[in-house]
């Protein structure tokens, strides 16, 4: 049925969203916005993993779905990262009363 989407399109989508997420990490100053941009980057990586799993020939002995398992692990790590990240941001917000990564400069000499 839908065998007419080239693999490259998925890769272009993932590359574009990765670049957008990187711009977000570079440009935003609010810590939570930076966290959101990191989520965009992780999702772009997931799209790549699943696309290569679906189109590619698996290495011998790698099982039926290596890419999907790796994507699930990435989702797990992303969830843990957001939980810890939000905790850290709340802690810094309580201490300095700002959620701005520019102002967290206590350790810069």
């Amino acid at each position: 049925m839908n065998n007419d989407i080239p693999l490259n399109w998925f890769l272009y989508f993932a590359a574009a969203s990765f670049a957008i997420g990187l711009v977000g990490v570079l440009l935003r100053r609010n810590a939570i916005a930076v966290l959101m941009a990191i989520e965009i980057i992780l999702n772009a990586a997931n799209v790549n993993l699943v696309a290569f799993w679906r189109y590619g020939t698996p290495a011998p002995g790698s099982g039926p779905l290596p890419g999907v398992i790796l994507a699930i692990l990435v989702i797990t790590v992303a969830a843990a990262e957001v939980a810890v990240g939000i905790g850290l941001i709340l802690l810094c917000y309580r201490r300095w009363r700002v959620a701005d990564v520019d102002r967290y400069d206590t350790m810069s000499g």
Binding site: I5, P6, W9, A51, R54, P64, V77, V98, A99
Partner: protein
């Protein structure tokens, strides 16, 4: 047909990603992020990984986006929305850096080199079939079973082939849970006296079991 669907979904996804990055209001950025997650879930459906799409919706939209919303609501800057604006001077270097990374990735996608013995994936547009055919290699049948029955196959794989990564992920989640609670926990300004009394009694109470535990070890060694 499917390619038109892909183009629509990808356009929505990229537009919402840009909205997340560039929108000034953080709540609006969070809602754009939800739309982006949903577009990625639609791409997973187009890639015939429906189980992963369901996980994406449940975990990202249901948990991560809500958690980010909580973070936004709890850290609203008291001095106004000053910090959410993008500084004008950073705009050009940031966009330039992003464009450079995108250009490098596109060059990499267009000039793929396959390992020896493998067909290059540049321009690949045909997938391994998920409809049963005659004379197919073994991994195609395996893949077809995995696509058509993904929930069961993922469970079996997680319990057999990937059991160590599964346990490590569980350990990571536990550690993240404990760490998040420890970080967000507000310390009491003055600890209560009963707690310190308990702590003083702690070492004395702890001595008894430890000496008892050492004795069986010594006896087992001697025997």
């Amino acid at each position: 047909m499917a390619s038109i669907l892909f183009l629509v979904i990808a356009t929505i996804g990229l537009a919402t990603a840009l909205g997340t990055v560039l929108s000034r209001n953080l709540v609006r950025a969070g809602l754009y992020l939800v739309a982006f997650f949903f577009a990625v879930a639609c791409l997973f459906v187009l890639l015939e990984a429906e189980f992963l799409a369901a996980i994406q919706v449940l975990v990202y939209i249901g948990a991560v986006a809500i958690l980010l919303m909580f973070g936004i609501m709890l850290t609203r800057d008291t001095m106004g929305d000053d910090t959410t604006a993008i500084p004008v001077g950073w705009m050009v270097p940031g966009l330039f850096g992003g464009l450079c990374v995108f250009a490098v990735l596109v060059v990499g996608i267009n000039n793929s080199i396959a390992p020896s013995g493998w067909s290059p994936w540049e321009g690949t547009s045909s997938r391994p079939s998920i409809v049963k055919e005659e004379a197919e290699p073994g991994w195609v049948a395996e893949r077809r079973e995995a696509v058509n029955d993904m929930g069961r196959v993922i469970g079996v794989e997680l319990m057999t082939r990937y059991v160590v990564p599964f346990e490590v992920a569980g350990l990571l989640l536990t550690a993240a849970l404990v760490g998040a609670i420890a970080l967000a926990h507000r310390e009491d300004p003055d600890p209560k006296p009963p707690r310190s009394a308990n702590r003083a009694a702690g070492p004395g109470a702890g001595d008894g079991p430890s000496t008892e535990a050492e004795e069986p070890v010594a006896s087992s060694v001697s025997s």
